[in-house]
Amino acid sequence: PHFMIELPEKEDALCFNINDRPGTIFSLVTDPQSGILVNGQIIGDKKIPPDGKMNTYFWRFGIVHQTLGVRLEVNTRDISVFQDSKWVKLLWSDSASLKGLNVDLLVTKERSLMVTLKDSVKFVVLLHKVWEKHPYHRDYLGFYTLDSHLLSPAVHGLLGQFYHGIEYEVSELRPGEVPEKPDATMFVKGQQLNVTRGWQRDFRRDMKNGENVPCWFVHNNGTGLIDGDATDYVVSGLF
């Protein structure tokens, strides 16, 4: 999956990929103070595509708001919500909206799920439907944080650590391997990284093609940009 940190004030964005063995579960957001947790599990292609590059995607997210007693599991097949001591199942094949005391859900048929957790966070899960008989690829999910300003300074995780901004400086633009993707040096978190100007896609507005967002790509699973390394974010269960 590709991670994107958009910084509109700087008219800039940072991005990195994180790949691991299919089945690995990563911590995306964890805020011990508000009791919020978002974990995601990746899945691989059906088989190795001809280009030899095995892609991994998120196919399942577990979302918990301990204080509100809300628990959600979103996967490429359906959406399960636990609140008020009971589980409710929603299907991607139906448009639906669910307004609860602590959580609002809005499902747009075969497309997206918007989740608003009271006084804490708002996000969207996008469903990418792939042709069922596609020889290699399969359905996968995207996770977009829309509003995270109410989360505590202690928020962490692969996405969460960026919720309160990131300071970096880029210099020394120089030709890269591909002419339209120059390399540069990024200073971030006390380190000096080689980064590459590239672009990755935001699918919120155009589910099919996405919109390209130019970004500074940090190589090696975001090493240097993320705290620690990617394996530090591996967790044992979805909740």
Binding site: F3, L126, V170, E172, T185, N212, P214
Partner: protein, 623 residues
């Protein structure tokens, strides 16, 4: 310009008249559509970014279409529909460091002529001891009549005139004609079609580049030179033979991560030269900052040979690290100057200067730019000059601009390029030699009104102070002028009497030229200063300044950042009529455009138009 061989460019003429530093340039181009069908003809010219467009017209089939200067907001409103449907086109775009490009295209009927005329005006600024008239010419084909004519009228007398062009070959060089008499200079360049030819068998033109004229005038001693014409006066003050005032300069240098590499190397190179060039009477200090602040020494040092050698060694070792803590770095510089003054380590009669070089926005310590401006102003108490150099496009120029203006200084952009070292040194050279401090130019209250700024914190060597105003009495025979300032050893005082210039005596055959030049010079200067005031200072002053600048820009038909020129093209065959709007770009807009250009061009496939969202987004998705 045209891509079709069926368009013949009959003439391209650039006619520039300079009267007492005020330049009016008229660029005219005549083209013929030789084809049997109508076609689009383009007119593209570049003008200095310091100039205001004042007029534009197109003559097509005997009809003249004239640009109309309107309040920017009203112009936008008037053409809101066209703007929202994307049918208007901005006519002015930034072009390089010094120029902006005006371009318009129009559909011309078969076998018809079109004449384009663009006029712009500016007050030439004296820098490093000369004025510069820059004309950029890029005709795409050879032109039947190509002509650049520049006439300079300087009643003070002309000291020298140099004319050169980036495209001048040995063959073209003799074609530059230059005639200089005591108070008038004439420069012309008019190659024939054949002389324009790039090579014997090709049709390309040699004429492509900058035509630059540099000149200076005889400097009047004591109170300067005053010219009174048609009820307006202008006072030029830059007396020769003044001794420089020692300066106490603190260099505050950004070494944050983004300076890594070329920028850091260029900064080191420039600083080495600047330190070597320090005058022995000067005192100096070096502060480098990333996240932390490092001082070379705790107080300023006299620029002795020994100290300079040690400073050079320090500069050689400057390397990048950390983030950008502008607030604490500048405040440290201010504190150092205040402390040294208090302890009488600095000459009493000397000027305190901070030169800040940064390439990024503050992101450590105080990062609220308004707060930094407030902190710095409060620390300096308006008693020292802060000059800011914004290196590259990642720093908000308007932040530095206001920061400097609030503290008797100016900001300058340093473009990331191979000559950045020279840009840095060049800026330093401009401010390196203060000649007078706190210069006051006074005129009798009952004789003048609507004065432009008449108090200046410094007069630098090679520059010039210009004050203009309106006379309340048109029949005034003379009036007294007082100039006061602080010089090296004693206060500078000069007094003089100004009389209206008799243009008929100086230029017996050409009096008609001078009609409204002084008034327009005054208007140009007033508008420029009002626009500056509209950026910094209390809110009500800003508002007042904006309103006044707008009024004057409309009255004198200047295309400024507050006004737009609306050009209505003739209707096309399908009956559509798309208005065009010529705006004046601000330095911030230029910088933003460059910033975007850099990000988009380097980052995106050619057809990509990026979408930025108003709030940050963090997401993860599939590739």
């Amino acid at each position: 310009s045209t891509n079709e061989a069926t368009v013949e460019v009959h003439s391209v003429t650039v006619d520039c008249t300079v009267t007492s530093r005020f330049a009016r340039t008229v660029m005219t181009s005549v083209a013929l559509n030789k084809a049997n069908t109508s076609q689009e003809i383009f007119f593209e010219v570049e003008l200095p970014k310091t100039a205001f467009i004042t007029n534009f017209s197109m003559e097509i089939e005997g009809r003249v279409y004239v640009g109309d200067v309107k309040e920017k907001e009203k112009a936008k409103k008037q053409y809101e529909k066209a703007v929202s449907s994307g049918r208007t086109a901005g006519l002015v775009k930034a072009s390089g460091r010094k120029m902006e490009k005006f371009s318009v295209s129009v559909n011309i009927a078969a076998k018809s002529n079109v004449t384009f005329i663009l006029t712009h005006e500016e007050l030439l600024q004296r820098k490093l001891g000369h004025y510069e008239i820059l004309t950029r010419v890029k005709p795409k084909t050879r032109v039947q009549k190509f002509q650049i004519v520049v006439n300079i009228y300087e009643p003070q007398g002309i000291l020298f005139v140099d004319a050169h062009a980036t495209f001048l070959s040995n063959d073209l060089l003799p074609l530059v004609e230059k005639t200089v008499t005591d108070k008038k200079a004439h420069v012309s360049f008019s190659p024939t079609m054949e002389q324009q030819r790039k090579c014997p068998d090709c049709d390309g033109t040699l004429i492509d580049g900058d035509f630059i004229i540099k000149y200076d005038v005889n400097r009047a001693k004591s109170f300067g030179d005053i010219q009174i014409v048609n009820g307006y006066f202008v006072h030029f003050f830059a007396p020769p033979d003044l001794r420089r005032v020692p300066k106490n300069v603190v260099f505050v240098i950004d070494i944050s991560g983004s300076m890594y590499g070329t920028k850091m190397t260029q900064t080191r190179e420039a600083m080495l030269q600047i330190v070597k060039d320090l005058h022995e009477d000067d005192h100096f200090a070096l502060i480098k900052f990333g996240s932390a602040i490092y001082t070379w020494r705790d107080s300023l040092s006299k620029a002795t040979q020994e100290n300079i050698t040690e400073a050079i060694n320090y500069v050689k070792d400057i390397d990048s690290e950390g983030m950008t803590n502008i607030n604490d770095a500048v405040l440290r510089g201010v504190a150092m100057l205040i402390k040294d003054r208090k302890e009488k380590k600095l000459p009493e009669r000397s000027v305190d200067i901070i030169i800040l070089l940064t390439d990024g926005m503050p992101n450590v310590g105080e990062s609220n730019t308004a707060k930094i401006q407030e902190n710095v102003l409060s620390a300096t108490g308006g008693k020292m000059s802060l000059f800011s150099l914004g290196f590259g496009n990642d720093v908000d120029y308007s932040f530095l601009d206001v920061l400097s203006k609030q503290n008797k200084g100016i900001a300058r952009r340093i473009y990331e390029a191979s000559d950045a070292t020279l840009q840095l040194q060049g800026f330093y050279d401009e401010v390196a030699s203060p000649l007078l401090l706190e210069v006051d130019l006074r005129y009798p209250d009952n004789a003048v009104e609507m004065l432009t700024t008449n108090h200046f914190s410094q007069l630098f060597n090679g520059s010039e102070i210009v004050v203009a105003g309106r006379l309340t009495d048109n029949d005034l025979d003379n009036f007294m002028v007082d100039v006061m300032g602080q010089g090296l050893e004693e206060d500078y005082k000069a007094q003089g009497q100004a009389s209206p210039v008799k243009w008929t005596d100086i230029y017996p055959d050409e009096e008609y030229i001078f009609g409204d030049f002084t008034e327009r010079l005054w208007a140009y200067l007033t508008i420029q200063q009002l626009l500056e005031k509209s950026k910094s200072g209390p809110a009500d002053e800003k508002e007042n300044a904006t309103a006044k600048a707008l009024d004057m820009a409309l009255k004198y038909s200047f295309v400024t950042p507050l006004t737009s020129m609306v050009v209505t093209k003739p209707e096309t065959e399908d009956g559509t009529d798309s208005p065009l709007i010529a705006d004046k770009l601000t330095e911030e807009q230029r910088q933003q455009a460059e910033r975007r250009g850099y990000h988009y061009m380097s980052a995106s496939p050619p057809m990509y138009t990026p979408t930025y969202h108003s709030s940050p987004t963090y997401f993860v998705d599939g590739d």
